[in-house]
Structures are given as structure tokens and as C-alpha cells.
């Protein structure tokens, strides 16, 4: 048993953290919303400098963990870039890769590339390109609808799984940062003559959020390991991670925003940007309830690993 990240991943994550801090942290997302070109110019350059595209998470667990750390750091800053999609770009033609819903291929930062490779959960794969401008909405500032083009060979299940797992790591990063922001805020803000952190009602909410983040972190690592150790149950494993990421992040973000009071709704505060900019990752290709029902179906069909048998051909 070894629950720790490989050194390669830790080092790569630390380098990513520095690079994203140099971009201004969450401020980079703020600037990109006002000036979307920031993404191609600044962010793409920073990722290049980092060697982000030299990591191929398909090759082995250490590389996958390094990619996971990269995505987690991106999530901490809601980096305005389709990080999991470029990490999972096709080795043949270099096209960025996204998992999409069954009826409408809608992708975060879809406008950044003229051509994509998209796949549904069950592996039906096509090329696609942007068909409309960005939504430019509050909750999906960079979300773009794509039109599907020619059929491609069915994508390997591994690509779909890794993309979903890495998105889980990205959401983990956002939840982690949201918790830290809450801790900072309640340690600072005084009401009724004392810091908010001295109220037990506040402390208990922080504790629950901390356990949610800790649990998601452990599950993120475990899931990557499972993808390599037991690829036949990958679909159930990544859906489990996605479900837990969505449920945990929703509650942690909510807690953090609530503990910020009215300031939590203001874009001047990072928590507001985190809450808005992570929405596409939480809603695409589908949200928590659909994820739960897909997970149930996958667990029943192929099995779900535990101390005792669940689903699959278990007897």
C-alpha cells in the first residue's frame, strides 16, 4: 500500500502551481472573461513553457498522476483553458479531445480550436468544430457549441475514462481552493466582536467541507490507480469519481460562498469566479443525477470493486 503521489507528479504539480501563479492565479480567469484572447496568448504559452503537453497520461500511472496534478492546479485557479482536453489530445493528429453528451456537443473553450475529436460516454467518436460563438454567459463564459463532422474510429474507452478522471482532479482543485478561501475569510472577518472562525456553527461547516475535500482527494488518486490496475471496471470507477466530485464540489462551493456572506457573490472575490467558472466542468457532458444513473448501470453490468462483490458477474 502506498497512498502517496509519485515524485514526478508532485514536482510537476509544483511547477504548474508556480506557472499559474505567475499568470495571476484566479485573476487570469477574470482577465480572460474580459479579453478571451488571453487564453491563446498567455495561457497557451505558459502551458508550453511548463511542458504540459509532453505528459501523456495514457502511458503509465506516474504520468497519469502528473497529468492529474496539472489538472488539479488548473482547477485551483480555474485556469481559462480546456486543460483535460489538451492533455488528452490525440497522439496521431493532435486534436483536443472532449467527452460530450449524446445530443449536443457542447464543450468548454470549444472556440479555441478549429477542430476537435469528441466522444460520447459509450465511445462513439467524431470530429467536430465550433458552430457558434462562445455562450459568453456568467456560468459558461467560454462554452461553445460544436457541430459534429466525420465519424472517427470509436475512441478507446481509456481516453473517455482518463478525460473524465482528469476532470475529476480539476474539480478537486477548485473545491480545495474554495475551502482555503473560506478558511481565510472566516479567520479574518469579525462580527459580534469576534472572528467568524470562533463560532462553532462556522467551524462545523468547515470540518464537513474539509472531510469532503479529503475524501475526494483520496478517491481521485485511487481512481487513477484503478484505471491502470483494473481497466475492465474503468467505466464504473470514473463515473464514481465524477459523481463524488460533483456532489462534494457542489457542497464545498456552497459552504464557502455562504461563509463569505454577500462578498461571496462578487467577482472581486475569488470564490465567485471559482463558483462560476467551474460550472461547465460540473455540467458537461452531464450533471450529477445522470452520472449517478450511468454509474448504477455500469456497476450492475461490469461490477464495482469493494471488499465484497457488487454487480458484474459477481456471484
Amino acid at each position: 500500500m502506498n497512498l502517496e503521489l509519485p515524485d514526478l507528479a508532485t514536482d510537476f504539480g509544483a511547477a504548474a502551481a508556480r506557472a499559474f501563479a505567475d499568470l495571476g492565479g484566479v485573476d487570469c480567469a477574470r482577465r480572460a472573461e474580459a479579453e478571451p484572447g488571453v487564453r491563446e496568448v498567455e495561457v497557451a504559452k505558459a502551458l508550453d513553457g511548463l511542458g504540459a503537453l509532453d505528459v501523456d497520461p495514457r502511458s503509465d500511472l506516474d504520468s497519469a498522476a502528473a497529468a492529474g496534478e496539472l489538472c488539479r492546479q488548473a482547477g485551483r485557479n480555474v485556469l481559462p483553458y480546456p486543460i483535460a482536453s489538451v492533455v488528452m489530445r490525440s497522439p496521431e493528429d493532435g486534436l483536443p479531445f472532449a467527452v460530450v453528451g449524446d445530443d449536443r456537443p457542447r464543450v468548454d473553450h470549444g472556440d479555441l480550436f478549429g477542430e476537435w475529436r469528441i466522444s460520447t460516454l459509450d465511445g462513439r467518436s467524431k470530429t467536430a468544430g465550433p458552430m457558434a460563438p462562445r455562450l459568453a454567459s456568467k456560468l459558461g463564459p467560454f462554452v461553445t457549441d460544436l457541430t459534429a463532422g466525420r465519424d472517427q474510429d470509436p475512441s478507446t474507452g481509456a481516453d473517455v475514462s482518463l478525460h473524465m478522471a482528469l476532470t475529476g482532479w480539476q474539480i478537486l482543485g477548485t473545491a480545495e481552493r474554495a475551502l482555503e478561501l473560506a478558511v481565510e475569510h472566516v479567520s479574518d472577518r469579525v462580527q459580534f466582536g469576534q472572528r467568524l472562525s470562533e463560532f462553532q456553527a462556522v467551524q462545523f461547516q468547515l470540518a464537513d467541507a474539509a472531510v469532503a475535500v479529503d475524501g475526494l482527494r483520496e478517491l481521485s488518486r485511487f481512481t487513477l490507480w484503478r484505471l491502470f490496475a483494473s481497466p475492465n471496471e474503468a467505466r464504473a470507477d470514473v463515473l464514481a469519481l465524477r459523481l463524488h466530485a460533483l456532489d462534494s464540489a457542489r457542497s464545498v462551493l456552497r459552504t464557502s460562498q455562504q461563509l463569505h456572506g454577500a462578498s461571496g457573490l462578487c467577482d472581486e472575490y475569488d470564490i465567485s469566479i471559482l463558483c462560476r467558472h467551474i460550472q461547465p466542468e460540473m455540467r458537461l457532458p452531464f450533471g450529477a443525477e445522470r452520472t449517478a444513473s450511468e454509474l448504477f448501470a455500469a456497476a450492475a453490468a461490469i461490477g464495482f470493486s469493494g471488499l465484497f462483490p457488487h454487480g458484474g458477474s459477481a456471484v
Partner: protein
């Protein structure tokens, strides 16, 4: 990152499952039922484990154990709790009374107390909580007055699990008067439950007939050689004991097993009502996450770091998962949840039994509110400007 337990631990798991399947009746619900045979099953099983060298697997070799790794200990905890703790009340002696005696005991105490625990011959109980000292345990008022070279102990303990069947008690009492520092003066005594002046009364509860008790101490004599860890050093012993208890119960393993028994096959899952399916999917994930958080606490322990905070985080997840799964299984069996083991209840009463015990999960061994305080304190301490 590697979540493989390793060959030795996997073999251990297989061996334990094999033993349980041959030694424990398939409808066993633990040692504390109305049927006295159930206690006998547990006592027999402990002796069998001892004979196989499995009872003290986790203990260091110098005390007759196998020096099993923390991960092998985890396997033992999981398999035992999953199968309704067939060691009965003896798990306390093995999990923390023995280790506390190893850590704090004098040579004579080790020689006297460890071999019977290792042989599966003795039940210990824990006399800490009092009517007015629950979460605030350090405010306990049971007094130990110096008397003829020893002590006379007077006071009341409550919620003492297994006191009726125990031979020995780890008792916390106060020597001297309470000062502003409540932790000072607390002293641990190792005394036989049948000693003159001790009265044990069962407390009727939803946990069944033999679980909770109150214990009255009326001028009970304790010799100086019955003090564990020195006069006034009791709080250190208690902290160590409670730390063991916190990672102690692998409740997620029972949840895992019951869900597997109820709908662990493809067909079983397909038969679940549609309205329950997303809750079922979430519970599968919660059980996995609770297990991983417990593993995190074990890993901290293994690395020699303090596992206090990670153990509290694990306990928050594990105990709430226990209740969530208990409720889910009740939804699954619908009104058959009202049937007990004698009514031919689903899974021979295991679901109903689990629900009742799960209600205690968030209180026993320190409430989840106290765990939340531990977690948030550490979180805030890591932040500049925090209290």
C-alpha cells in the same frame, strides 16, 4: 500510488474468511443477543484464532504476536467487523487494552495481563464515561482516595460496554481534587470486575440486552500495582486508547458486505426499485470513500505522523456512511425493516441489526461533533491569523 494490500495481507484475508465460514453460523449477529450461545460462539472463536496464531496477529513479536503490518491489522478489523465482530467483546482487549499495557505497563503487569488476552481467555471493559462526564471526559469525578498503601475508589461509570461479561475493567478515576487543570490527577486502574464494592447494572437499549451498563464503585480497593502508567498520568493513557478506538471500527466493511449480500449481483442490482438506484450508486461511492479515508489515517500512522486529524476525518465519513447505508437498506427492504431476527427478517436480521447499531456510530467513542472540532481546529490552526 499503489492500493494493493500485498500478498501476506491478502492471504490473511482469505484465511480469516475461511475460518469465519467454518466456525461462525451464517446467521450470526454478534455476541450480544438474547441467545447465550452467541457469546459462546465468540469465546470459542477467540480461542480458535489464538490457537491459529491469528488473535494477536497485530501485536509485536515480543508479546507473542506476528508483528503484522498496519495494513494486515486493517484487514483483520475489516473482516471482523464485516462479519459481525465474531471476537465479541474481546476486540477491546486486543485492539487497545493490550497495546496500552505494552506501552504503559510495568513488567509485572505485562506478564500478568498480556498472556490471557493473547490466549483469547479474557474480556475487558472500559470504565471511562460517567453520567456527568461524556464528551467532556476530563471532568470525571470518580475518586480514588489513598488508603492503606493503595486506593479506595468511589463513583459511578456509565455506558460501560460488556461490563456484565467482562472479568477486568480499565477504570479512570481521579486521585486528589480537581484543579483548574482537569486532566491532572486522572489515573487509570486495572481491576477485576468481581471485586467487592462493584455493582454492574444492565441498561436496556436498542442495542440489545448485553451491551450497555452502569457500574457503581463503592469504596472499591485498588492496590498500587493496579495503577497503569503512573498516578496522574491517566489522560495520556486515555488519549492513546481513544486514538486506537477511533481508527478501530471498520464500519464501512459491514456496509460493503450488507450491500453486497442484498444486491451484489447483476440480477440483484437490476431488481432494486428504480427510485433507489441513484442512492445505491452514491452509497457504493460513499463506502469506497470512507474506506479510503480510513486508509489515509492508517497511512499516517504507518509513517509515524500523528493520525489524530485524519482519524477524526475518517470517523466523520465512516460513521455517517454507516447511517446512510443503514437507512438505504431499510428503504430497500421497506416495511420488513420492522421485523427482527425472530421474525425471519431480511438477511436473517442483519439489516435490522445494522440499522440499530448504526444509530450509535456517531456517538460511541467520541461524538462526531467532537471530531468536527478536532478537524476544524487543525484547519484553522494552519491559517495565519487563526485563533
Amino acid at each position: 500510488m499503489d492500493y494493493d494490500f500485498g500478498e501476506r495481507a491478502c492471504e490473511l484475508r482469505a484465511r480469516l474468511r475461511e475460518l469465519i465460514s467454518t466456525e461462525i453460523p451464517h446467521d450470526y449477529l454478534g455476541a450480544f443477543t438474547d441467545d447465550p450461545e452467541d457469546l459462546e460462539v465468540a469465546q470459542r472463536f477467540c480461542r480458535r484464532l489464538a490457537a491459529e496464531g491469528l488473535l494477536t496477529w497485530a501485536w509485536p513479536e515480543e508479546y507473542g504476536g506476528s508483528g503484522g503490518s498496519v495494513w494486515e491489522q486493517t484487514v483483520v478489523r475489516e473482516e471482523m467487523w464485516a462479519h459481525h465482530e465474531p471476537r465479541g467483546a474481546q476486540y477491546m482487549g486486543l485492539n487497545w487494552v493490550g497495546p496500552a499495557i505494552m506501552a504503559f505497563g510495568r513488567e509485572g503487569q505485562k506478564e500478568r495481563f498480556l498472556p490471557p488476552i493473547a490466549a483469547g481467555q479474557v474480556i475487558w471493559c472500559q470504565g471511562f464515561s460517567e453520567p456527568d462526564a461524556g464528551s467532556d471526559l476530563a471532568s470525571l469525578t470518580t475518586r480514588a482516595e489513598p488508603h492503606e498503601g493503595g486506593f479506595r475508589i468511589t463513583g459511578q461509570k456509565i455506558w460501560t460496554s460488556y461490563a456484565q461479561m467482562a472479568q477486568w475493567c480499565v477504570l479512570a478515576a481521579r486521585v486528589g481534587t480537581a484543579t483548574t487543570k482537569k486532566h491532572e490527577g486522572i489515573t487509570i486502574f486495572l481491576i477485576p470486575v468481581d471485586r467487592e464494592g462493584i455493582t454492574v447494572r444492565p441498561i436496556k437499549s436498542m442495542l440489545g440486552p448485553h451491551h450497555l451498563n452502569e457500574c457503581f464503585f463503592d469504596g472499591v480497593f485498588a492496590g498500587p500495582d493496579e495503577v497503569l502508567g503512573g498516578v496522574g498520568n491517566g489522560w495520556n493513557v486515555i488519549r492513546r486508547a481513544l486514538a486506537h478506538e477511533r481508527v478501530g471500527i471498520a464500519r464501512y466493511a459491514r456496509c460493503d458486505r450488507l450491500m453486497s449480500q442484498w444486491a451484489g449481483t447483476r440480477d440483484g442490482m437490476a431488481a432494486l426499485p428504480v427510485g433507489l438506484r441513484s442512492a445505491w450508486a452514491r452509497a457504493l461511492v460513499q463506502v469506497r470513500v470512507a474506506r479510503l479515508l480510513a486508509y489515509r489515517a492508517v497511512a499516517e500512522q504507518e509513517a509515524g505522523r500523528s493520525a489524530d486529524v485524519s482519524a477524526s476525518a475518517a470517523r466523520l465519513a465512516v460513521t455517517q456512511c454507516d447511517q446512510q447505508v443503514a437507512e438505504l437498506l431499510f428503504q430497500a427492504v421497506e416495511d420488513r425493516s420492522l421485523e427482527g431476527p425472530d421474525n425471519d427478517a431480511p438477511l436473517e436480521g442483519a439489516i435490522e441489526d445494522h440499522w440499530r447499531y448504526a444509530q450509535a456510530a456517531t456517538v460511541a467513542a467520541g461524538t462526531i461533533e467532537i471530531q468536527r472540532m478536532i478537524v476544524s481546529r487543525s484547519l484553522l490552526a494552519g491559517n495565519k491569523g487563526a485563533p
